[in-house]
Amino acid sequence: MNTYFLQVFNGISVSSIFMLAALGLAVTFGLMKIINMAHGEFIMIGAYAAYIIQNIFSRYLPASIFDLYFFVAIPASFFLAGIFGWVLEKLIIRHLYGRALDSILATWGVSLVLQQLARSIFGAPNVDVKSPSWLNGALLVLPGLQLPYKRLFIMLLVIACMTAIYFLMYRSNYGRKIRAVMQNRAMAASLGINTRKIDACTFAFGSGLAGIAGCALTLLGSIGPTLGTNYIVDTFMVVVLGGVGSLWGTIAGGFLIGTGNTTLEFLTNATLGKVLVFTLVILFLQWRPKGLFTINSRSLDE
């Protein structure tokens, strides 16, 4: 019984990780139609940002406040990845609007450079980020049924990010501007919106979200130059399955792929589970090529 309950929890937990990793992509891909193959590398930048903050805390600050580093690391990851994203947009992405296929190729070049950059700076081997002690341990629901705090924390973080995105995109003036630019650039520009600035900020925001994901992933996995490559295909599948341009789609896509992965892995094995999930997603997309949550609009057709 406990096993099955825990499995459900695992499914939700893995879903939340996928959602977190895919959120930034939902912004850059969904809103801007830029396929950022370097998205995984922004996750990596976030992870290394956490590593740097941890090192600063352990080296220069009293040990008593070491556990608080994570609260600094999350915004630091967001900003570092965001700055990288902003620079990238200014240098490269802005040449690629409306050239979705080319954006795949160019950003893949970016991912190569960023990986090698990480290797040059931090070395090829993995580095260790110590989780803050308040995240160690687990919530004891029943004897034998423990829910790790880290996984609960990531779930909360996802909810927080989602809420933030929701308010930013749908309840703020800035969000209105973003949506205006993404839907009709010329019209928005003629209304006096600085579309160039909006583009750069949106891309930086999406990249920053990837950074937060990277920071959170240090709790669960390895931190190395190739960290991002482990997530890139999964996150794209999440966004595509959910439906491009829809926040709900990303949530649903993350949930389906996450629980699908864990359930099939539990029933069969990890290799087969992964193959089955991807095959099912590909088949599903044959039936609904635009994903679960489609925005039916003529402008998207061509």
């Binding site: 096993t3 499995q7 260790d128 980020v129 110590k130 390895s222 190395g224 997530y231 864990t262």
Partner: protein
Amino acid sequence: MKIKFLPKMKKSVIFALTALFVSSAFLSGCGSSQASDSSGSAGDSKDTIKVGVLHSLSGTMAISEVSVKDAEMMAIDEINAKGGVLGKKIEVVTEDGASDPAVFAEKAKKLLQQDKVATVFGCWTSASRKAVLPVFESNNGLLWYPVQYEGMESSPNIFYTGAAPNQQIVPAVDWLVKNKGKKFFLIGSDYVFPRTANKIIKAELKSEGGQVVGEEYTPMGHTDYSTIINKIKEEKPDVVFNTLNGDSNVAFFKQLKDAGITSKDLITCSVSIAEEEVRGIGADNMTGQLVSWNYYQTTDTPENKTFVANYKSRYGQDRVTDDPIEAAYDAVYLWAAAVEKAGSTDVDKVKEAAKGIEFKAPEGNVKIEGENQHLWKTVRIGEVQPDGMIKEVWSTPEPVRPDPYLKTYDWAKDLAD
């Protein structure tokens, strides 16, 4: 401005020619210039002996292989500082295998055919070794392979300085059954080494009355182990035998700890985690867990004290040494000793001379077994310490004879044909 008068068609022809010549220039590049200076025996010119170092310096395997390359370079420099081999300096040709077996094969061909090196130190993964094996055999080259592996191989052109299964896995299982319990859960990355290792373990457990309660493989780069940990919890094994590789280990141990399982609750024994990997995992995530190797940085020999000190002073105090690093270091010395004994770098002569050669290695005495070109090695089971070092908890009293095909074990009869 002569170009101007060329018709436009010819422009593109010229372009094609330039492009081709550029690439063929790269093709023939260093090779052709160096090919000429090789005399009689391989890689042996007037005052230097050329050797190849072939590891992944880029790509996913660079994580592990760069340190191994460093150890080989250190050994070569040490030997050169003492006057070299046969009175000649060793000259190194480094190649990058780029974590791609096909590139390994290509670079091995280059080292043997173009550079005509006397020997090659290199490879890490079984895939890369299998890729270069036919190259070394058909060119009669010599490869020194420094990593523990799954066995079932004994190429006449390869010397294996890492552990064969009977020098790592087999004794570890035996010790675990006697000291920790009989119920085993096997977890590994989905590739050749873990699958073969687990076949061996299963056969051994059967003969020792042990039991396998679960066997799971995850794709390379798998990042979520919650489901498998859940399966482990359900099966309640005494021992988790871990053959995961690379990044997956980090995820596995971090998540195992989160699930409330520490070495006090459940012992794991890993055979692909050495000091270098422990650093990436975080020592606190696997304190008290077991590993099985032939060498640790803490191994108590005078040779090791010098080795560790030299390695650190050369590459940085924060660097650690581990088993493959040490095995790679040994390989260079063993080759040098064999060349001295043979009085030549000729592959056949070196192979003949290498039989039975002994070396006081950092891990203690090692000896080349002539029959299969593996090393006699001491087996050590160690426990991960909070500082990331590994403390030896048990070792074989003597070096163990290598037996890649497990011929001397009754239970292994059906494994190898």
